[in-house]
């Protein structure tokens, strides 16, 4: 207040006469407006407790309202001031609306009907149990100024610790370059010395020792034979290793069309694998979730938290841009579907050859095996890769080692009794149950 008065005086003294009047009227108007605003906000701010307001808001309103973004209902920041200024609606109206919006709409209130139709006639829950105090607390919470976006300040000390891997790599690289330079320098020095020696006509004694050892070796036929056999075996070993890994895609890690991180979803946020891969429970394939499953959450989550965004920088991806890719694919403009969608072409990672049959529900639901046993530490993977070799030996090994779960499974009672007598064991493995028969996996 004081400040405006002062500036008013400044103006009147410093400016020329003709200007003063115009200035004065506008200034007075401005002043009145500010007075009004401060009065109205200070009134509500006095009664309402924004801390409790936040609690009430999260419990009752947050499922439909955000402060700065339209969700099911309108954005609520400064709603009281907005309604008062633009539509002349007072606290009475807001109380009535929150306690029973349907009644306000029925009473023919023009603004209530307008906004009801604007939001596709989706009704707001009647919250009759809220007290006057609760409502003024909530309104005080919504009247709080928008917080400045927090830029995560990076402490240089913690940074080098956190990125130990990267800085180690840099140090190693620098060392390698250093050694390279040293070696180069040594070679150069040696060469210049040699040239000096030549120029001066000094005979540098060349090493004859090496040659004589070599000659001795060539003349010793036994030694030559042994080394030849050794080299043959070694190269055979490496060749075998090379040929055996052909067709095995362990470690395969394709670049996907959307940088989708299992670390964030299944790890940090603990979303169950079957939430997305829901057909693993009941069918042969696990399936990749259709995009409407993503939108169950991403209708509400359009941006990641600043801390997550900073993590993304370490991997060199902009997470928010990746979420935008999801929106583009599914045709979501932030509030509604545009109907303009295009499929995401995920690249398949795990793929058995056509002649082998693998069934998820048999292993996940009947066998009770965790996904991670076969797919590795998925909840730590920023990018999905194939952890297991998926060779026949891998399948067979596990069938030999894993016991069949027979508890609570009437299907197995009889066959388990017969077979366990036959093999003389307490617990049958999957192999003894028939898990080695070619026809079970090859059909």
């Amino acid at each position: 207040m004081k400040k405006s008065y002062q500036s008013l005086e400044d103006n009147s003294t410093n400016n020329m006469k003709q200007v003063i009047y115009r200035n004065l009227t506008s200034k007075i108007l401005y002043l009145g407006f500010i007075l009004l605003l401060t009065f109205s906000t200070s009134l509500s701010a006095q009664e309402g407790d924004p801390v409790n307001g936040k609690k009430v808001f999260l419990a009752n309103c947050a499922s439909c309202h955000k402060l700065d973004k339209v969700m099911t209902g309108p954005a609520l920041r400064n709603v009281e001031a907005r309604l008062a200024e633009e539509h002349g609606l007072d606290r009475e109206w807001i109380n009535a609306w929150i306690r029973n919006s349907a009644a306000v709409i029925k009473s023919g209130d023009p603004y209530a009907n307008k906004i009801y139709n604007e939001y596709n006639q989706s009704p707001m829950t009647a919250l009759a149990s809220l007290t006057d105090q609760d409502i003024s607390d909530v309104l005080a919470y919504t009247a709080q100024p928008k917080p400045e976006p927090v830029v995560p300040t990076v402490d240089p000390n913690t940074n080098t610790q956190g990125e130990g891997g990267v800085s180690n790599n840099i140090i190693l690289g620098a060392l390698a370059v250093l050694f390279g330079l040293l070696a180069m320098a040594l070679i150069l020095v040696k060469r210049t010395l040699n040239r000096f020696a030549e120029a001066k006509g000094i005979e540098v004694p060349s090493k004859k020792g090496g040659d004589s050892i070599w000659k001795a070796f060539v003349q010793n036929q036994f030694l030559v034979l042994v080394t030849a056999i050794f080299f043959l075996l070694a190269s055979g070993y490496f060749a075998y290793g090379y040929f055996m890994q052909i067709g095995v895609d362990q470690g395969y890690e394709p670049v996907q069309p959307i940088h989708y991180s299992h670390r964030i979803h299944a790890g940090d946020n603990g979303i169950d694998c079957k939430y997305c891969h829901s057909s693993a429970r009941v069918s042969k394939t696990s399936g990749i979730p259709s995009l409407n499953v993503c939108m169950n959450c991403h209708k509400s989550i359009s941006e990641v938290a600043p801390a997550t965004l900073a993590e993304g920088k370490e991997y060199g991806v902009d997470y928010n841009a990746e979420i935008q890719k999801l929106y583009d694919a599914v045709g979501w403009d932030g509030t509604a579907y545009t109907g303009d969608s295009k499929p995401v072409k995920w690249i398949r990672v795990h793929n058995l050859p056509d002649f082998a049959y693998f069934n998820h529900s048999q292993h996940v639901t009947v066998g009770g095996i965790e996904c991670q046993t076969c797919h590795g530490p998925v909840e730590e993977m920023e990018i999905m890769y194939q952890d297991a070799p998926l060779t026949m030996g891998w399948c067979i090994n596990c069938h030999r080692e894993t016991n069949v779960k027979v508890k609570d499974n009437a299907y197995y009672t009889k066959i388990h009794e017969q077979l366990s007598k036959k093999y003389g064991v307490e617990q049958l493995t999957a192999a003894q149950m028939g898990g080695l028969e070619c026809g079970k996996c090859h059909y």
């Binding site: 499922s63 099911t72 006639q121 009704p123 052909i246 169950d272 009941v282 989550i301």
Partner: protein, 187 residues
Amino acid sequence: MHINMKIAAKYIVVSILLVSFVSCQKNSRPNYQYMPNMYESVGYETYQESDAFANGVEAQLPAEGTIPRGDFMPFEIDNTTEGYEEAKLNLTSPLDSTQVDYEQGKVLYDIYCAICHGTKGDGNGTLAKKELIIPGSYADKDITTGSIYHTIYYGKNTMGSYANQLSETERWHVVAYVEKLKADLKK
């Protein structure tokens, strides 16, 4: 001059070898296969691309108006506010008390719902604690058997539909479990 050429050649050979070894390690493309004839299906695999259909994928929606064979009842209530109110008043579970499997309901609820609604249904799921998606507690909601089913089937406001992740009986198990959670919260 002569010697220099030799040395240079040596370096080049070594570096080519190194580079080729490193590039063999590339994981962003699949490995070689011997004779892929029997590796790759003649028939389509699940979700494979296909030019047999207009939209370019093998997986197709069932034709309009068809229903699966067997024990199937179409859900005839609409996805509207009126439909919601109708379900709330009139829709009841086809499962009687002996058929309801609360254990199964809990398993499914923990997979599909607990991430937002919390394992106890008090609205304290992982995502709610992070203030990303805030559903509120079942105890404060005016819900009935029918309205819960309608909500699972079509979703409600910001909550999406779970009809494609849960079969019809599974949905009713979950409904029963949600009612149990609500009753427990009210205690």
